[in-house]
Amino acid sequence: MQTKEVPMREISQEELAACNGIDGAPAWVAYQGLVYDVSSSYHWRQGRHQITNRAGQLYERGLNAAPHGPDLLERFPIVGRLSG
């Protein structure tokens, strides 16, 4: 269950896409309208997770197919809400 305080900052699709974790860019992913910063995770190095998932994108499909629930994602800081 999400209990963190969610920053009111609105994040555009373009800003999310730029945070793809490549070459020093932060690694952000969007899930259920919230944007998480997974940059500190070993499992998202270079913006890739389990090879098939990419940072800078929506993570709905990836997480739905993943062998874990959203609880692992919810350990990471929330950057804001995805606009649009």
Partner: protein
């Protein structure tokens, strides 16, 4: 490379290059875990540590077996291991299972072991999910490894007192599930 074997996988819609990356990064995780578990096992001493040493050793040997079993499938599908061992270490699908700061803290060592196994369980479940009903050979191999990783997790989890799992440690031979993929054993 087994050309037709690769073509059959490609025809199912699986991205074979991505699958190969998964197999290689998990092979790296197995070999690096074998190395780090060697150090963990050496430090499992004293009244508490000695009781865990044997299962740590079984998990260590089975992780090495997993590496050995994965390699032929990587080459069959047209992949290869990196030439550089450092690069191979750094691409591991799981973080290094390093000794905890307090090397006398057996519970902390157990936590390192169970975290490593949980990473492996998720990794092979992911490969099984990708290949189920499509790439039968990779699926069978990943499923065999998954069976052993789940048992490793259960062993260490029970020692941490997280609850019973009903599993028993190995009696005699290692890798009961992966052995069919390793004719040399």
């Amino acid at each position: 490379m087994a050309r037709v074997a690769r073509e059959m996988v490609e025809m199912t819609g699986i991205n074979v290059d991505e699958l190969l990356e998964l197999l290689i990064t998990n092979a790296a995780a197995e070999l690096t875990t074998f190395y780090y578990y060697t150090i963990l096992r050496a430090n499992l001493i004293g009244l508490e540590g000695e009781g865990i040493k044997e299962i740590a050793e079984a998990a260590r040997i089975e992780d090495r077996n997993h590496f050995e079993a994965l390699v032929p499938r990587i080459y069959e599908l047209g992949g290869k291991l990196p030439d550089d061992m450092n690069a191979f270490h750094d691409m591991s699908a799981c973080p290094p299972a390093r000794l905890p700061q307090d090397i006398t803290d057996v519970k902390a060592i157990l936590q390192v072991l169970v975290d490593a196994e949980r990473c492996a369980v998720r990794g092979y479940a992911h490969i099984c999910n990708l290949t189920a009903g499509k790439d039968h050979r990779t699926y069978a191999l990943a499923q065999a490894i998954l069976n052993e990783e789940i048992e490793h997790e259960s062993w260490f989890s029970e020692f941490l007192g997280e609850g019973p799992s009903g599993h028993f440690m190995r009696r005699g031979e290692t890798s009961p599930f992966v052995r069919p993929f390793m004719p040399s054993l």
